[in-house]
């Protein structure tokens, strides 16, 4: 029996085989080679409460089945394409929120920061006639500055992030209304950069398929390279069967999505940018020292500080990232709704964004989560909203259902965490 989980909190028994070479402890988990090992490992993880993305994926399938049975246009290419575009703005904001949640903090201001960003861009480019690109850069810089202010008060002054960003939530909403001034709404000019964000499509079918192919090949190559390096270093590596299975699943999803998008209007620019943000953020969080520092600060601030990590710098920069991405998301929302308004980013945008991160599987308690939860969670929320819209449900029902889904996700998180604790894996 090499695969059973045994309690590890008993002191190791005296080892009478005092061989000079490292002896394999019989209680260690040794993974069987090959595909069988992968399956048993997977089963063990699920039993131990490490559900990963399984609940979200099951939830998405459930949502698709329910709405498709009610209205056959739910899975139509047009609707799927719309979902792909609508998730971009809030999704990018959710990436910023995931960073903050990894730190074990929360940012309640992302909605109003998005509104301020859209207002800055709209006022600069239409009222003052500043070049479109420069106006966008100014808006993004404003988001970074706002995030830095939040980070400063949190990290240096020591005000809880909850309070700082709650104050920001009110304050920046006020700034947004003041900036918009007498204009109730500033429409996005035709052909402007921001207008293009959600209205530009790569309509050549090669674009969507090409992107899918690049993604699949890139994923495959990185896994194969990693496996080879690990094998050369005689470390445990992914068996070829697992690589093939993972790549196959990704290819299935990527090419189905590409096919559906091509059936509609082609590959949306919004989705491309969102995916790029996801890939970069995922890379930063998992493969750089900076990302490791974020996880460390979220796990144990004291341990991080003693390891020589500049905790204050990490905190300030994380809030800066959240502010920056909030503005980028805000510009997408402005593009999608046709302009900047006094109420852009108000209402349920904030809750949807935070809910997306949590539904996707990022813990509210810090240190545990993945950037991709922004995508998965946003897909769940947007699918529900889109489905309810198709069924002609009023927005009050949408609020209630989204709230229930959020609660279900958090309950699942708590329960699976308790299971993990008893299985000695949390």
């Amino acid at each position: 029996m090499t695969d059973t989980v045994k309690k590890t909190d008993t002191p190791p028994a005296l080892d009478d085989s005092a061989a000079p070479a490292p002896v394999t402890d019989p209680r260690l988990l040794v993974r069987e080679q090959g595909f069988r090992g992968y399956v048993t490992e997977f089963k063990r993880k699920v039993r131990g409460g490490e559900l990963g993305s399984i609940p979200v994926v099951l939830g998405l399938i459930l949502i698709a089945v329910i709405f498709q049975s009610q209205d056959s246009s739910f899975l139509s290419p047009d609707n799927l394409s719309n979902i792909g575009i609508y998730i971009a703005g809030p999704g990018i904001m959710a990436v910023g929120v995931v960073f903050v949640l990894l730190l074990g903090e929360i940012d309640l201001s992302v909605g109003s920061v998005a509104g301020v960003g859209a207002a800055v861009w709209a006022v600069l480019s239409t009222v003052h006639g500043i070049d479109d690109g420069v106006a966008v850069l100014c808006a993004v810089a404003a988001g970074a500055a706002i995030g830095t202010v939040h980070g400063f008060f949190f990290a240096k002054v020591g005000v809880p992030a909850f309070v700082v960003t709650l104050a920001g939530f009110l304050g920046w909403s006020g700034l947004q209304i003041w900036l918009m001034g007498s204009e109730g709404t500033i429409n996005t000019p035709r052909g402007s950069l921001v207008e293009q964000l959600t209205n530009f499509f790569f309509d050549d079918i090669a674009a969507a398929y090409g992107l899918a192919l690049v993604a699949v090949l890139g994923y495959l190559a990185s896994m194969l390279l990693d496996s080879r390096r690990r094998r050369e270093a005689s470390l445990p590596y992914r068996p070829l069967s697992e690589v093939a299975l993972r790549t196959g699943l990704l290819a299935l999803v990527a090419f189905t999505a590409a096919y559906q998008l091509n059936q509609a209007r082609g590959l949306p620019l919004a989705l491309v940018i969102f995916l790029a943000v996801l890939v970069i953020a995922d890379f930063v969080s998992r493969r750089t020292s900076y990302g490791r520092q974020i996880f460390a600060c979220g796990g144990s601030t004291e341990a991080a500080r003693r390891a020589g990590i500049n905790v204050e710098r990490v905190r300030i920069t994380v809030f800066m990232i959240a502010g920056t991405l909030a503005v980028v998301g805000g510009l997408f929302i402005a593009s999608q709704s046709g302009g900047a308004t006094k109420s852009l980013g108000a209402g349920n945008v904030l809750m949807n964004v935070i809910a997306a991160a949590v539904i996707g599987g990022t813990s509210l308690f810090g240190g545990r989560g993945k950037i991709w939860s922004a995508l998965l969670g946003m897909l769940v929320i947007q699918s529900i909203m889109q489905g309810l819209n198709l069924l002609g449900m009023a927005s009050e029902i949408q609020y209630m259902i989204t709230g229930a889904v959020l609660l279900a996700a958090v309950v699942l998180d708590s329960v699976s965490r308790r299971t993990q604790k008893t299985a000695g894996r949390a």
């Binding site: 590890t8 008993t10 190791p12 690990r230 460390a296 796990g299 004291e302 991080a304």
Partner: protein, 259 residues
């Protein structure tokens, strides 16, 4: 023992509000020497260690590194000098795996990207040479037992190739075999020419591995003794302050003259 100390504290004082935690403390550590730092609870052992490690900057006095006065204001300063510390409350990140914890704050990189393969390989080699057995180097610290966490914490101190290692109560939570392993490890550090500060309440451990015993009492020096020529009772007396008399003072003077 005639070599110049690697690390020397001279007249170090530290105050927390109304509490004078350390007053005029001197301490010297030479390469290849194990100095046991002993004292009752609240004697200032942990505070002293934290001043050297850069967690609490000192208020008064000087810290000398290889004869040169240095300022240690941040944990980074201590690390850069070559001082590694293993705290009593381990200071590991529960959510990160063993490899990530071992290299936290000094990840190996390849072209700016964390080199997980090299880190895992080095972690395995290190744990093997220390005969440390844990279920996997890729499981989160949260799933390890207290003893396993202790050995990971000690292994972590050695990753950065330090010259002075400070161990704060390293054997307090360990079983019989693991205690022996840690003591072996301390001796191996000495053989490699590192200076070790060992904080311990366990006199058996102190007598087993230390060369010198420095006693703290109520935040002040209360004698530095060579272990071989000092009896258990004398050390206990210095810790409790029970026999602060001419005999102990004389022994202390001769001990200092000899060192």
């Amino acid at each position: 023992m005639s070599a110049a100390p690697v690390l020397a504290l001279r007249g170090v004082s530290k105050r927390f509000g109304a509490v004078q935690a350390l007053t005029d403390v001197d301490l010297e550590i030479r390469a290849g020497e194990v100095v046991a730092l002993v004292g009752d609870n609240g004697a200032g052992k942990s505070t002293l260690v934290k001043t050297v490690a850069g967690v609490h900057p000192i208020d008064d006095g000087t810290v000398e590194w290889k004869g040169r006065p240095v300022e240690i204001n941040r944990p980074h300063d201590a690390q850069d000098l070559g001082i590694a510390t293993v705290y009593q409350d381990l200071a590991l990140c529960d959510n990160l795996d063993v490899v990530a914890n071992l290299f936290l704050g000094r990840e190996l990189r390849r072209g700016g990207v964390i080199d997980e393969v090299a880190m895992e390989k080095r972690a395995k080699e290190l744990l093997d040479t220390l005969s440390i057995r844990i279920p996997s180097v890729r499981i989160p610290i949260a799933s390890l037992s207290g003893g396993q966490r202790q050995v990971v914490a000690i292994a972590r101190a050695l990753i950065g190739e330090p010259e002075v290692v400070i161990l704060d109560e390293p054997t307090a939570a360990l079983g019989v075999e693991q205690t022996a392993q840690v003591l072996d490890l301390v001796e191996r550090l000495r053989e490699r020419g590192l200076g070790v500060i060992l904080i311990s309440h366990n006199m058996a451990d102190v007598k087993a591995v230390a060369d010198t015993v420095a006693v703290l009492r109520l935040g002040r020096n209360n004698g530095v003794f060579p272990v071989k020529e000092t009896s258990h009772e004398e050390i206990i007396a210095a810790i409790t302050g029970a026999t602060d008399n001419a005999v102990t003072r004389r022994q202390q003077r001769t001990a200092e003259a000899a060192s």
